[in-house]
Symmetry: C2
Subunit: 160 residues, 2 copies
DNA sequence: ATAACATGGATATTGTTTATCCGCTTTATA
DNA sequence: TATAAAGCGGATAAACAATATCCATGTTAT
């Protein structure tokens, strides 16, 4: 039971895209190179972010990706949902139904309600924080110098 | 990202063991047969419950498993922990460290704190409920008849 | 027309979970 | 004291999910 690495990668990709000036885009390959992850696979994840309407894609030469929403409007939960999908953390395998010889419709799993509550508690924390909050944290002094290099890289790499 | 099926199986196994009179045990094979799961694999899970001190095992002929703690003292969280282990739901892959060229020791993952908080929120729900609470819910009328059959099966199958 | 990009499907690789097998120890009982 | 039935632990296989690659296609600036 472990969160996919794509969630972390996506959050940082979004932070990169946020450094773009208006109208500019960043090619998928450049992003994955900066993140240090598999380019071909990360393209698949970028697709999921597009489907979730978090980022937009521009095809053709001078194409790439850019934000579709402002980072203030992108919760960590939204990124999680885009990458991991709707699947719940727990789903009953119906053991109790089988043991008690009840029909599935009777919803006889004793754990479902609790697990749902737990998952909601978990999600609600992810809903509290936006990518903008993280961008704010990234302004800390200890990052300052390196952050400038990163912004410079974006300026160099973006296409307009 | 999905919880192992062993957690649900273990909870119901514990509920079965709770139907045993003092001194009696239930062989692992009988338990897995009742649950309708793979016997050889479920033995491994039973071992984890033993290691976690939730149940006790008795070797030799007339051996088997019985509860070590009262179900009032077994939280769903304890079962989860026994089966899934200490591994956290999220762990940083250090992407930001790499991008900003910082050392790992600088703990520069922006998500870690949030994810830890979310996981704690999740766990705290699992800590609120004990297996005894579920045993109580199982007394509902709609289960009544079948529950008696189950208890009868335990009486028939247990060894003393 | 061409080159650089995203798209989507098919497929391979890797890792984790689930499942099996076997040789071992333990213990009640014949 | 031999035996049978149980748990124990290590090695290994099978099934599944996550990660990664490849390729044919569509789009667009030059």
């Amino acid at each position: 039971m472990h969160m996919k690495t794509g969630v972390e990668q996506s959050v940082y990709a979004i932070l990169l895209l946020n450094m773009l000036p208006d109208k500019a885009v960043l090619p998928g390959e450049a992003i994955s190179q900066q993140l240090g992850v598999s380019a071909t696979y990360f393209q698949k994840l970028l697709r999921k972010l597009v489907s979730a309407d978090l980022i937009a894609s521009v095809p053709g030469i001078k194409g790439g990706f850019k934000l579709k929403k402002r980072i203030e409007e992108i919760r960590i939960y939204d990124v999680y949902l885009a990458i991991e999908g709707q699947q719940t953390l727990y789903s009953s395998s119906g053991i109790l139904c089988d043991m008690l010889e009840l029909r599935e419709e009777d919803r006889c799993c004793l754990l479902s309600d609790l697990m749902e509550e737990a998952e909601n508690a978990w999600k609600s924390v992810l809903k509290k924080k936006t990518v903008a909050d993280l961008a704010e944290e990234m302004k800390a002094e200890r990052f300052a110098g390196k952050l400038e290099s990163l912004k410079a890289w974006v300026q160099d790499t973006m296409v307009i």
